[in-house]
């Protein structure tokens, strides 16, 4: 290695990169601070930090408003209606029927996904179609390993009269492959919860393209007779379909076949209001916590098992005999199990089927909404009774009416959507001549986006902040040359990052046919139904944790990168650019991992945020390879001369 000899250096003094005559500080003050600001834009250089602080102070100030229940706006109107028949009762119609020792308790051929069945997808995008071939299901998911499609139905079986019981389903595989599980779960008919399960059996097989699968499940009836507390037992039949990553299949046929010592005859029970209208004219009756019920007693048998009537024309197969029953609204109270009870007797005789039509007292509640959007749950409190909950715990369409038991007193109604709900209260003494309407004009519909007043205020505030940030950015970048801007390595990643805000990051379907699109960077959630937007809602409450992360890992890097565009790209600031792009990259990778673990589907937004950093690195490496120098953003022509 050579040596720099100080004693030989006689000619030069020092060498510096800053021009002579000016210190760095004075040069900066003499030039940069004298630059003329673009016309029409105020100098806002001192508001950058203050802007963020103000933003979050206001945000935190308004959080209580966002989280508060939006009770204002909704109302109950009571008006006097016409006198209607208020006498309950029942009617028995018999028809000829040839009873056999081999009975099809359920026969859906072809399977039509009717109201008998409750079908839905969970963490997976599924499309369904019914035609003459059967019930076609297409399951798909981009990155998804936990999603499934399920169809289930509930029926009641006279277990003491049966010797053999078979469940079967026939399916055809059209595309891809999937695993199909057929299961049957027997439970105590008097209880409606998961702890009531007595016995469970299932069978699983693989279905693939071109294969016809016939799954049959036989059950140990002798065992069930010993463990079932009643002569009637409730059974849940489920078909689970798990496709990875996608599959299309047809459910062609589903049956429950019973073999008995003596013939069984169908008894079909239907519940109507005293006006004659079916209580199931509103689909939501099936989700009511206190549904119409019939406690069925048989001569010679102990106990009176309760049949919850969750659908019209509920059919149970019974042997010949004398039966008595108490019908009404289920109250789940030992002392008073039935609201508005009525006693019924009927006899099942050979070669006849029975149609039992119950006329029940019920109050019809009309429900109006300025925005009839899908909701998650509805709660009705009547007088001193327990809450009546219409809760499928998934999104269901807005009903135009519902039936409630004939209980006198005050009425409370709450409708739950996302993390917000509407509720209204009326102090009334209800009777059957009154017409009660529940209105919820809480929301303002702006291009499909549902907002209330509080949210409008908050959004206005956010828009103001964003406007100020954009204005500041325009001031900073006004002197940039457009062509140089386009060739800046940071430009494409910034555009990708901005685009990621406009696309959903995760997609999920929490049971049902509604698909939720979650925009992580914005407090917006969009619900779609078979590809169409059902509603979009601004939901601050659930977003707040995600929002804090998004501000730190998305908004702050984006704003930082935008302001960095105003300075030329150089080696010294490339590290900072890399760090700012790394944050959204890590955030999106976090979502990728979460998606893989949870079974959600990764949205385009997360992918766009993820590719920003790799694209930036590739651009740098490519330009270095072809020898393009670090981009120096030149000024516009007008600025060059000055």
């Amino acid at each position: 290695m050579g040596r720099i000899k100080k004693e030989e250096n006689n000619r030069t003094t020092d060498a510096c990169r800053v021009p002579p005559g000016l210190s760095h500080r004075s040069w900066f003050a003499a030039t940069v601070n004298k630059l003329k600001k673009p016309d029409g834009l105020p100098d806002t250089s001192n508001i950058d930090l203050g802007l963020f602080v103000t933003f979050w102070v206001i945000l935190l100030f308004f959080i209580p408003l966002w989280n508060s229940p939006y009770s204002f706006g909704a109302s109950l109107q009571v008006s006097q209606g016409e006198e209607v028949d208020w006498n309950n009762g029942f009617e028995i119609v018999t028809m000829p029927y040839s009873g056999l020792n081999e009975t099809l308790l359920l026969n859906s051929t072809p399977y039509d996904g009717s109201s008998i069945w409750d079908c839905g997808s969970y963490f997976v995008d599924a499309k369904t179609r019914s035609d003459e071939r059967g019930y076609t299901i297409s399951i798909s998911g981009l990155i998804n390993n936990l999603g499934f499609f399920s169809c289930s139905t509930t029926t009641s079986i006279s277990i003491h009269d049966i010797t053999e019981l078979f469940f079967s389903v026939i399916l055809d595989g059209l595309e891809g492959s999937c695993n199909v599980t057929l299961s049957a779960a027997f439970s105590d008919i008097s209880l409606e919860n998961s702890w009531s399960e007595l016995f469970h059996r299932s069978i699983t097989s693989e279905l693939y393209r071109g294969k016809t699968l016939n799954l049959t499940l036989s059950t140990p009836v002798a065992l069930l007779k010993t463990i079932s507390p009643d002569w009637l037992s409730k059974v849940d039949m489920d078909i689970f379909i798990v496709g990875t990553p996608s599959a299309t299949l047809i459910i062609k046929d589903t049956t429950i076949k019973a073999i008995s010592d003596k013939p069984l005859f169908p008894v079909t029970i239907d519940a109507t209001a005293t006006t004659g209208e079916s209580l199931y004219s509103s689909y939501i009756t099936r989700y009511l916590s206190n549904p119409p019920v019939i406690f069925l007693n048989r001569t010679g048998e102990d106990g009176g098992p309760a049949l919850s009537l969750r659908r019209a024309n509920y059919t149970v197969f019974l042997p010949q005999g004398q039966y008595s029953a108490i019908a009404g609204w289920h109250n789940y109270d030992v002392l008073s199990p039935v609201i508005d009870a009525q006693e019924i007797t009927f006899e099942v005789i050979p070669d006849e089927m029975i149609h039992l039509r119950l006329k029940m007292r019920a109050i019809r509640l009309n429900i109006n909404s300025s925005a009839p959007i899908p909701f998650r749950s509805m709660l009705v409190r009547l007088g001193e009774s327990d809450d009546l909950i219409y809760t499928p715990w998934r999104y269901v369409p807005w009903p135009d009416h519902l039936y409630v038991p004939p209980i006198q007193g005050d009425i409370w109604i709450s409708v739950y959507f996302e993390d917000w709900y509407v509720q209204a209260w009326a102090n009334i003494s209800m009777n059957h001549t009154q017409r009660i309407s529940f209105s919820s004009p809480l929301t303002i519909n702006i291009f499909g986006l549902l907002l209330n007043l509080g949210q409008l205020l908050d959004i206005g505030l956010v828009i103001l902040i964003v406007f100020l940030v954009i204005k500041r950015w325009l001031v900073k970048t006004a002197q940039l040359n457009r062509r140089a801007l386009l060739s800046d390595n940071r430009f494409v990643p910034i555009i990708l990052l901005m685009s990621s805000f406009l696309f959903p990051w995760i997609l999920y379907s929490d049971w049902g046919e509604y698909l939720t699109l979650n925009f992580v960077a914005l407090p917006v959630r969009v619900l779609t139904f078979q590809g169409n937007i059902a509603f979009a809602v601004v939901s601050f409450g659930e977003w707040i944790i995600l929002g804090l992360l998004s501000v730190v890992l998305l908004w702050a890097p984006l704003i930082g990168l935008l302001f960095m565009l105003s300075t030329p790209e150089s080696k010294s600031n490339s590290k900072k650019t890399g760090k700012l792009l790394l944050l959204p990259f890590l955030y999106s990778v976090f979502f990728l991992i979460a998606v893989l673990l949870s079974g959600y589907t990764l949205g385009l937004g997360a992918i766009l945020a993820m590719v920003g950093l790799p694209i930036w690195l590739i651009q740098i490496l490519y330009r270095r390879e072809i020898g393009v120098p670090d981009i120096q953003l030149p000024l516009k022509k007008a600025e060059r001369g000055s």
Partner: protein, 155 residues
């Protein structure tokens, strides 16, 4: 007059630097697993590009070049605007840098650490020992003086 210029590619830069350190083209070809003619061509293209880069930097800073060597990535000239001798250096690591002959206020300058890193790097590329007991601007002048002596531009 507008002139189109580009930096040497990463590989061209490596080859150019090795040649400047007097490594034989055949050894460079072996080390980099390329052909001998490729080394010559890369060296030629790199020198053409560096020559344009040096001229461009001089034009931007209104420096009239007295001596220039694209082989060594170094030029010296005079800047009438600042009435100062000026140096232009090229390095694959630090790109093109312009230096003015005057005593800088290194102790109060925010660019001090960046300058030190650059001067240390240039000294390393030239295989010269960096004097640690002087200011950065002084070290820079010593380095450029030594380079000019090596190139035979001064006695």
């Amino acid at each position: 007059m507008h002139t189109y210029f580009r930096y040497p590619t990463q590989q061209q830069g490596k080859i150019w630097l090795k040649r400047r350190q007097d490594i034989r083209p055949s050894d460079i070809a072996k080390q980099m697993r390329v052909s001998r003619p490729y080394v010559s061509k890369a060296q030629r293209v790199a020198e053409q590009r560096i020559s344009k880069l040096l001229k461009n930097a001089a034009a931007i800073n209104r420096i009239s070049i007295e001596h220039s060597s694209s082989k060594f990535g170094f030029a010296v000239g005079y800047c009438p605007g600042y009435q100062s001798i000026s140096y232009i250096t090229y390095s694959p690591q630090f790109g093109v840098q312009v230096w003015f002959d005057h005593e800088g206020e290194c102790s109060s300058c925010p660019e001090n650490s960046d300058c030190e890193r650059t001067i240390r790097g240039l000294a390393k590329e030239w295989k010269l020992e960096f004097p640690s007991d002087v200011s950065i601007s002084r070290a820079a002048s010593l380095l450029f003086d030594t380079i000019m002596r090596r190139l035979g531009w001064v006695e």
